[in-house]
Amino acid sequence: MSISVSMTVNGKAVSGKVEARTLLVQFLRENLSMTGTHVGCDTSQCGACVVHVDGQSVKSCTMLAVQAEGAKVMTIEGLAPSADKLHPMQEAFRDNHALQCGFCTPGMVMSAVDMVKRHNYQLDEATVRRELEGNLCRCTGYHNIVKAILAAAPAMKAAGV
C-alpha cells in the first residue's frame, strides 16, 4: 500500500511514494538518495537524523514522511549557501575541530543552527551543553562542539543567517 507525498526539500519540490510507516528520514535517504541525514538509533535519542521542518529542528526518525506533506524541509545538504561557501556553523565546526568520524555531525550542525536562533544568538556554555541533550557524539567528548557553537553564534548574527 503506497501513499504519495510531496514536500519541499532544500528549496526543491519533491514527491514520492511511501508506505504509511515510512519515516521522514527513510524518505530522505531512500527515496531521495539524500544520505547526509544519518540514522544512529531506533529510540529517537541520538540526534544524528536532525533536519529542519518549517524552520524547526526535528528528529526525522520521529516523524512519518506523510506528516511532512507540504512542509519545507532543510537537510545538511541544503545548509551551505553555495558550493564553495559554508554556513557559519559548518565553518565553526571545521575551525574548532568539532567533528571526528562525522557521523553525528549533520544532526549536530542542524540542531546547533536551530539552537542559536532560538536563543537569539546569545548562548553560554551551560546552555549549549543542556541544549545538546538530544544529540550524542561518541568521538569528540563534546568539548570542541560546544566551542564551535559558541563561536558560531556571533558569526551567524554577523552574517544575518
Binding site: E19, R21, R29, S33, M34, T35, G36, T37, H38, V39, G40, C41, D42, T43, Q45, C46, A48, T75, I76, E77, L79, A80, L86, Q90, F93, R94, D95, H97, L99, Q100, C101, G102, F103, C104, T105, P106, V109, E125, A126, V128, R129, R130, L132, E133, N135, L136, C137, R138, C139, T140, G141, Y142, H143, N144, I145, V146, K147
Partner: protein, 795 residues
C-alpha cells in the same frame, strides 16, 4: 624538522571535514547498489537454549522475501567457524579452549542476540516483517550470566569443550617471590574491584553490503571495518575459503569504531556468503538494538589486588587475581585483551620490582567481549591507580607524593618491568608537576571547605597511566601467540604532474589520517598539502595493511609513510644528480628541492618527478622510470605514552549526583603532528572514561540473561551536560625508535579517566568513612554508599 604552517606540528584544519560537514560523507549504508536486496538477522531472544526446530514456511511466503537461510544451510555449505586470532597458553602451556563459533547457530543459542536465521528481501522492512513470522521452537536452558560465579561448580555450562566455563588460567610473574616480598611488607593495601562491562556504541551502527560478480567470480564486501585487509584475510583463509584475490573489502567512511569494528562478525560473513546464492547485492545495517546485543562488548573484570609497601611508602610487590569475561564465543582478539594487553601493564609508571598476576578467562551466556578503546590497559590502570590512591589514603601520604616516590626515574630508561615490557622512554615527574599546577592542587583543600559550606562533598583524584601501544614488533606478537604480523604498509605515488597519492594500510574512522598523514608527507617532501591525497580503506587500491587499533596508526602507519618518503628522496637524488650533472653523494634534499651542495644548482622535486615519468633525459640504465615507492614498517618496540589526569568532583549527598567540576590531562605522546587533532582524541577518550566511571553499564539479568541495558534509554551514554570542558597539555619525550618520534594518543583518555574520576569520588566520600563505591558511580550507587556509611556510623 621545519615547522612549516602545514607541516609537522601545525594545527592544520582537517581536509576530510568538507565532505562530512556538507552531508557528503560516504558510509556503508549510504551506498547505492543496483537491484539491492536487504538482509535482516533473526536473533535469539534467549541467553541459552536448544533449537528444536525452525519453521520458515510462513515467512518465506511473505511479500518481498527472496531467501531465508538458517544454520542448516551454512552447516551444509561447510561455512567455517568465526575465529579467535590469538592463542593464549595457560599456566601449563596448553592453548586456550577454543570452541567453534558458527555464524548462524546450528542447534544451540548462547546469548541474547545470537544469530538464528537470515532473511533476504526486497526491502529492509519486508525482511524484518518476515523474520517475525519465522517460528523457532526453543528449549530454554539455564544460563551462566554472573561473571563472579561463572567458574563455580554447578554454573550452567556454555561449551562442552570448555569444562567449568574456563577458557584459560594464565599467569605472569613468579608467585613465590611476590609472596616473600609481601611477608616482609610494612603495609599491605587490599582492593576488590569490578571493572564494569561497556558497550562501545560507535554512532554509526555496523553495516555490511556484498556483491558477487558471476562473470569474474569476484566478491566485493563494503564493511564498517577498522581493518579491511585483516577482515579479508580472516574471511578468505579461515571462514569462507574465498581466494583472497577474489574478495575485495572496502571500508569507506566509517563512523567511529573504538575497537568494536576490528573484528570479523557473523553478519558480514553471512552477507558475503549469501551474495552468490541470492544472485543480487545484499545490504545490511544494524539497528541500534542489534549494536547493543551483538557488537563485541568491553572490559568486564572481577579483580582482587594487593599492594605491598615498605615503611617509606615504596612499592615492594603487587599481586592481582582477575576473572575476565569472554562472553559466549571468542571474538577475534578477545583472548589477548585481559592477558598481554592487561597484566603486562601492571607496573604502571612505577618501580614495583615484583608483580604476579593470575587471569582466569570465563565463558558466559553473554555477547562476546573484546577490545574496546584502551583494551586491557584501562583495566590495568584502574587496578594500579585505584590501589595506589587507596594506599596513600591508608598511609596518610599525599597521593601525588606517593606516586612521585615510586615513579621510574627518567635516568632509568630503557626500563625493564617485571611483567615483560621494556619501556623505551619517559619522564613522569614533570607531567604530574604540570598536572598539579594546572589543576591548582594546592588550592584544593580551600575548595573542599567552600563546597562543604554549601553542603557538597568535593574530592580530587589522580590517575598516572602508562600504555603500550603501536602494536608492535611482529616477532614479539608471534611469540605471545598473535596470529598476524603487526607492521604497516604505505605507498607514496607521485603523478606525472607532481601531485601525490599516499596509500596507507591504516584506516581512519574519525582520527583524521587524511590530514595528519598529508602533513607528514608535506613536511618531508615539501609538497603543498592540497596536492596530497591520502587513500585508505580499500583492499583493491591500498597495500596490504593491518588497519587501525591500539593507537598504532601514526606510530606504525606514519612511520611506514616516512620510510616510503625516504625512498622517494633516495631515488630523486639519483635523478637529480643526472639532471644537474653532479654526483649523487653531493645532492641534498631540502624544502622540496634537490641541490648540489655548495652551489646554486638546484632542481625542484616536481621536475624530478616529471623526468621520472617522461624519461627522455634520464639515467635509464641505473634508475627505473616512475616515482612510486612502497614501504613496510615493523616497529622495534611498542610505544609508551604516559600522563597524569586530575579530576575534581562535587557530590550532592542528598541525591548522590556527581558533578565533574574540573578535569586536567597532561600527556606525553612524544612528538605531535597536529595538536588540534590530538586534543580532540584526548577529549573523546576522557569522555568515554568518564562514561565508564559515572554512567555506562552493560547489565544482563543474572538469571534470564536478558540484556537489560539494551538501548540508549537504558544505557547511559555521556551527554554534553555530563562533562565539563577539559584542560589538556603536553610534555614531550620523543619515542627513540620510530622515525617520527611519536607515541600514540587515541586511547590515553579512556585508559586513565576511570581511575581519575573514581579516585575523586572516593576522596569526596572519604570523610564519611567510605573507602569504595562501585563503578559506575551512578547517583543511586553513590547515594546507597552514603546511606550505608551513615548507618554504620550511627551503629
Amino acid at each position: 624538522m621545519t615547522a612549516a604552517p602545514t607541516g609537522i606540528g601545525a594545527r592544520v584544519k582537517r581536509t576530510e571535514d568538507q565532505r562530512f560537514l556538507t552531508g557528503r560523507g560516504r558510509y556503508v549504508d549510504d551506498l547505492a547498489l543496483a537491484r539491492p536486496t536487504y538482509a535482516y538477522f533473526l536473533r535469539s531472544p534467549h541467553a541459552h537454549a536448544k533449537i528444536r526446530s525452525i519453521d520458515t514456511a510462513a515467512a518465506a511466503a511473505m511479500p518481498g522475501v527472496v531467501r531465508i537461510f538458517t544454520g542448516k544451510d551454512t552447516a551444509e555449505a561447510k561455512v567455517g567457524s568465526l575465529i579467535c586470532g590469538w592463542v593464549v597458553k595457560d599456566k601449563d602451556g596448553n592453548p586456550h579452549k577454543a570452541p567453534g563459533h558458527p555464524p548462524i547457530a546450528i542447534d544451540t543459542v548462547r546469548y541474547v542476540g545470537d544469530t538464528v536465521a537470515m532473511v533476504v528481501a526486497e526491502t529492509a522492512s519486508q525482511a524484518r516483517d518476515a523474520a517475525e513470522a519465522i517460528k523457532v521452537d526453543y528449549q530454554v536452558q539455564p544460563a551462566c550470566v554472573d561473571l563472579a560465579r561463572a567458574l563455580d561448580k554447578g554454573a550452567a555450562q556454555v561449551h562442552p569443550e570448555a569444562p567449568g566455563n574456563l577458557c584459560y588460567d594464565w599467569e605472569i610473574g613468579v608467585k613465590a617471590d611476590v609472596e616473600a616480598a609481601f611477608a616482609k611488607a610494612a603495609h599491605v593495601t587490599k582492593l576488590d574491584l569490578v571493572n564494569n562491562r561497556l558497550i562501545p556504541n560507535a554512532m554509526e551502527p555496523r553495516a555490511a553490503a556484498a556483491d558477487y560478480d558471476a562473470g569474474t567470480g569476484q566478491y566485493t564486501l563494503w564493511s564498517t571495518s577498522q581493518n579491511p585487509h585483516v577482515l579479508r584475510l580472516i574471511l578468505s583463509a579461515f571462514v569462507l575459503g574465498i581466494p583472497e584475490h577474489k574478495l575485495r573489502v572496502v571500508a569507506p567512511d566509517v563512523g567511529g569504531g573504538f575497537g568494536s569494528k576490528i573484528f570479523c562478525y557473523a553478519d558480514e560473513t553471512l552477507v558475503v556468503w549469501a551474495a552468490p546464492r541470492v544472485g543480487r547485492p545484499i545490504k545490511w545495517t544494524a539497528e541500534r538494538n542489534e549494536s547493543f546485543q551483538t557488537d563485541a562488548h568491553g572490559r568486564d573484570h572481577v579483580t582482587h589486588a594487593e599492594l605491598a609497601l615498605d615503611k617509606d611508602g615504596k612499592f615492594l610487590a603487587l599481586k592481582v587475581e582477575t576473572i575476565a569475561n569472554m562472553g559466549s564465543y571468542l571474538s577475534t582478539f578477545s583472548t589477548a585483551v585481559p592477558t598481554y594487553l592487561y597484566a603486562t601493564l601492571l607496573a604502571g609508571q612505577y618501580t614495583t620490582p615484583l608483580i604476579y598476576a593470575n587471569v582466569k578467562a570465563a565463558f558466559t551466556h553473554t555477547a562476546p567481549v573484546d577490545a574496546y578503546r584502551g583494551a586491557g590497559r584501562p583495566e590495568a590502570t584502574f587496578v594500579i591507580e585505584s590501589i595506589v590512591s587507596k594506599a596513600a589514603a591508608e598511609l596518610k601520604i599525599d597521593p601525588a607524593e606517593l606516586r612521585r616516590r615510586n615513579f621510574i626515574p627518567s635516568t632509568a630508561f630503557p626500563y625493564q618491568t617485571p611483567v615483560a615490557l621494556q619501556y623505551d622512554s619517559g619522564n613522569y615527574p614533570p607531567i604530574i608537576d604540570e598536572a598539579t599546577k594546572v589543576s591548582d592542587y594546592k588550592g584544593f583543600e580551600g575548595r573542599r571547605a567552600e563546597a562543604k559550606s554549601r553542603g557538597k562533598l568535593r574530592g580530587i583524584g589522580f590517575s598516572s597511566y602508562i600504555e603500550a601501544c603501536g602494536l608492535a614488533p611482529s616477532q614479539v606478537i608471534g611469540q605471545l601467540g598473535g596470529g598476524v604480523g603487526q607492521w604497516e604498509a604505505a605507498q607514496i605515488r607521485f603523478n606525472p604532474t607532481g601531485n601525490v597519492q599516499v596509500l596507507t594500510g591504516s584506516h581512519s574512522h574519525g582520527q583524521g589520517h587524511e590530514t595528519t598523514f598529508a602533513q607528514i608527507v608535506s613536511d618531508k617532501l615539501g609538497v603543498p598539502l592540497e596536492q596530497i591525497e591520502v587513500v585508505h580503506g580499500d583492499t583493491a587500491t591500498t597495500p596490504f595493511g593491518m588497519g587501525s587499533y591500539g593507537s598504532r596508526s601514526l606510530a606504525v602507519g606514519g612511520s611506514a609513510i616516512m620510510k616510503a618518503a625516504d625512498k622517494i628522496i633516495a631515488k630523486g637524488k639519483k635523478i637529480a644528480a643526472h639532471l644537474l650533472e653532479a654526483s649523487v653523494a653531493d645532492i641534498a634534499f631540502e624544502n622540496g628541492t634537490f641541490k648540489v651542495a655548495g652551489t646554486d644548482k638546484a632542481v625542484p622535486l616536481g621536475q624530478v618527478v616529471f623526468a621520472a615519468y617522461v624519461p627522455h633525459n634520464y639515467p635509464i640504465t641505473e634508475v627505473e622510470p616512475g616515482m612510486d615507492e612502497n614501504a613496510f614498517y615493523d616497529p622495534a618496540n611498542f610505544v609508551y605514552p604516559a600522563g597524569t589526569q586530575v579530576c575534581e568532583v562535587e557530590i550532592d549527598p542528598e541525591t548522590g549526583t556527581t558533578e565533574i567540576v574540573s578535569f586536567t590531562a597532561i600527556d606525553d605522546f612524544g612528538n605531535i603532528i597536529n595538536p588540534m587533532i590530538v586534543e580532540g582524541q584526548v577529549h573523546g577518550g576522557i569522555v568515554q572514561g568518564v562514561g565508564q566511571a559515572l554512567l555506562e553499564n552493560a547489565v544482563y539479568d543474572k538469571s534470564s540473561g536478558q540484556l537489560i541495558s539494551g538501548s540508549f534509554m537504558d544505557y547511559t551514554m555521556p551527554r554534553a551536560d555530563d562533562v565539563p570542558s577539559f584542560k589538556v597539555g603536553y610534555k614531550v619525550t620523543p619515542c627513540p625508535h620510530n622515525p617520527l618520534g611519536v607515541k600514540g594518543c587515541g586511547e590515553a583518555g579512556a585508559i586513565a579517566a576511570p581511575a581519575a574520576v573514581m579516585n575523586a569520588v572516593r576522596d569526596a566520600l572519604g570523610p564519611l568513612g567510605v573507602r569504595d563505591v562501585p563503578m559506575p558511580a551512578t547517583p543511586l550507587a553513590v547515594w546507597q554508599t552514603i546511606q550505608g556509611a551513615q548507618r554504620k556510623a550511627a551503629e
